[in-house]
């Protein structure tokens, strides 16, 4: 996670299309492929070996190097040997979900929009509409084969981008997507549309999960800067409803007032 944060920071500082960004993208991926117990064992063993290497009684330099590697293993959750073998014991990369149950942030909200389900579905399905109501999104470009490129405002003023793929697309019922493997941000989302009887509109239930750069620390930092994910999604949905029901979002920005 620390590696991801560094990579995002470097790309953000140098610009998305810069040589730095390309070089960072070319670096081998540091994937979490260790389970939590293994990381704790690595931390304990690595710390001990590192200590021994310094006090002169143990095998010196070799001990320091081995200790350093174990500490890296503990800090990143990445085992180079596992990675070379294409092997993982991590709970974070279980095949069912991009984000394990205990990781990241999960937000769910519901809103009822006074429009028929097909219209509500179509507006959401065009992902390029999303930045109109999701204010943390800068841009979404749909590319080919159901993929899309998302650019968002991240914590500390950084820009984060990732590619997403469609998991499910049942017209007027449900859309689900997730970030492709190896993205800076692990994220997944789904939106379900329920047509209500007697012209009562469409219930829209949104579930978003994401593991922001910096993990839980990252989302804590993001909160400090006012980007409370729960509130963010609730207000995004309010704007979504406003656009569909009225064609605009209400504002007073730019209206006159007297001396403040």
């Amino acid at each position: 996670m620390a590696a991801t944060l560094l990579s995002v920071a470097a790309k953000s500082a140098a610009g998305r299309d810069s040589a730095v960004a390309r070089a960072v993208d070319a670096l081998p991926q540091v994937r979490t492929n260790l389970s939590s117990p293994e990381r704790w064992v690595s931390l304990a063993a690595g710390g001990a070996l590192f200590g021994l290497g310094f006090d002169g009684r143990g095998p010196g330099l070799l001990s320091c190097l081995a200790g350093t590697y174990l500490l890296y293993r503990a800090a990143t959750g990445n085992c180079l040997a596992y990675q070379a073998l294409g092997f993982s014991t991590s709970d974070a990369t279980a095949p069912a979900s991009v984000i394990a149950a205990e990781h990241g942030t999960r937000v769910e909200h519901v809103v009822t929009v006074m429009k028929p389900a097909d219209q509500v579905y179509r507006f959401w399905r065009d992902f390029e509409n999303l930045p109109r109501f999701m204010t943390h999104l800068v841009d979404v470009d749909t590319t080919t084969d159901g993929r899309s490129r998302w650019v968002a405002k991240g914590p500390l003023g950084l820009q984060v981008e990732w590619e997403a793929e469609l998991l499910t697309d049942t017209p007027n019922r449900v859309i689900a997507w997730k970030s492709v493997d190896g993205s800076d941000v692990d994220t997944a989302g789904s939106v379900r549309f329920t047509d209500l009887p007697h012209g009562q509109g469409t219930e829209v239930r949104v579930e978003l999960k994401y593991d922001p750069p910096g993990g839980k620390v990252g989302s804590a930092v993001a909160r400090l800067f006012g980007e409370n994910p729960d509130r963010q999604v609730r207000e995004d949905l309010r704007r979504f409803k406003q656009i569909l029901e009225t064609g605009e979002t209400p504002t007073t920005e730019g209206q006159p007032h007297g001396r403040r």
Partner: protein, 389 residues
């Protein structure tokens, strides 16, 4: 343009501010020809409404001529003469479609604040604090009106401004208060507060078939208007034992419906009223519901208490036991103005009512600060103040 701006508690001033601009496709700009000060503006003036900012433009009773429209506006155009409901409604949400316009879901840019305070917040209002949307008001030369197709009502050329201006708020508010009483022929309705809303409630109760209407106040000038211009029996609650008086006048049964057209800044002389002032001063309660307490206690069994008076926060010592014991019905809330404008405009056109009877004073907009001061301090004489930009 010139606009009346809120500066702080008991401090308003006419200032030069920029002209309003179209900000959204469904906006219109209205050149204001007549505007008024509402009794509820005094709640702002007295500093009772939170989320005000210095420099906010006040005013929610205004009318004029359409000056400019956004590209999404189709039902009105430049030159149309219009009245503007004080509640801002989108016309497309669940609530607007049920004619509950003051519960509109989509007009408040600060809906989160109102949701936090009330569970679910209502519509925005012009010139009435940031919790209610923060929209600039109409005590000015121009105003921007969102959702103009829904929020502007054309008025016929032969009706002068002063006859239709009060369709923006107080006439529909008094009318809805009376309609909420579910009046049957022969009913007696008691109205607390003979200010503009109370006077319109009295007139409306008669229009809706009430047999007798009783006006209750302590300001003699207002009681005279209720009696002479609206046909009510009147009583000064400071001079009688109100419950005994009402009981006697209703044959020992109590009024069929009671309207609280006073709201959160009720005046009173008994111990509870004095305690209310102390608590409000000490921030232990926000509202002083003396009129509401009396209305609940005086109402007959199975009757209706209708509340057009504005409440904002927490009420203390409300006799819920009496309300429950008598099986009262409560009806209240901001007026669904949009629902009432067409039918009340028709009544004005037919000559059933001339709302201009209410106007006691006319000021130029430039002197609006003076008008506020007098309206707040000389209630005996100042009932309704109209401003000309």
């Amino acid at each position: 343009m010139r606009a009346l701006c809120w500066r702080g508690q008991k401090n308003v001033a006419v200032e030069r501010v920029p002209d309003p601009k179209i900000l959204n496709p469904r906006d219109a700009i209205v050149r204001i020809t007549t505007t008024a000060i509402c009794g509820s503006d005094l709640h702002l003036y007295d500093g009772y409404i939170p989320t005000m900012k210095a420099g906010d433009i006040l005013g929610h009773e205004f009318m004029g001529v359409v000056e400019e429209t956004g590209r999404g506006v189709t039902h009105v155009r430049k030159g149309d003469r219009v009245v503007v409901p004080f509640t801002i409604a989108c016309g497309g949400c669940f609530f607007c479609k049920r004619e509950l316009y003051s519960a509109c879901d989509n007009s408040n840019p600060n809906a989160e604040v109102a949701d936090t305070a009330y569970g679910y917040g209502g519509s925005s209002l012009f010139g009435y604090s940031h919790m209610f949307g923060g929209y600039a008001g109409g005590q000015a030369e121009f105003a921007r009106v969102p959702f103009a197709d829904v929020g502007l009502f054309k008025v016929p050329a032969h009706l002068p401004d002063e006859k239709v201006l009060f369709l923006t708020d107080i006439f529909p508010t008094g009318y809805m208060a009376a309609e909420n009483c579910n009046i049957h022929p022969g009913d007696t309705v008691a109205v607390w507060g003979c200010g503009p809303v109370g006077l319109f409630a009295i007139k409306s109760a008669f229009l809706l078939g009430a047999h007798r209407v009783i006006g209750i106040d302590y300001v003699e000038g207002r009681l005279r208007m209720a009696r002479d211009l609206c046909g009510a029996e009147v009583v000064n609650f400071e001079k009688v034992d109100l419950y005994g008086w009402l009981d006697d006048k209703t044959g020992g049964r109590g009024p069929d419906a009671c309207i609280d057209a006073v709201g959160m800044e009720a005046h009173g002389t008994n111990l509870a009223a004095v305690l209310d002032r102390v608590k409000a001063f000490a921030h232990l309660a926000t509202d002083r519901p003396q009129a509401l307490r009396q209305a609940i206690m005086a109402c007959r069994k199975g009757g209706t208490v209708s509340i057009p008076g504005v409440y904002g926060g927490l009420l203390d010592k409300l006799p819920m036991g009496a309300a429950f014991g008598k099986g009262l019905t409560f009806k209240m809330g901001q007026t669904h103005v949009h629902k009432y404008v067409p039918k009340l405009l028709a009544r004005i056109e037919k000559g059933e009512i001339d709302p201009s009877f209410l106007i006691t004073h006319r000021y130029n907009l430039s002197d609006a600060a003076e008008a506020y001061h007098r309206f707040a301090t000389q209630q005996d004489e100042y009932v309704k103040v109209v401003l000309k930009p």
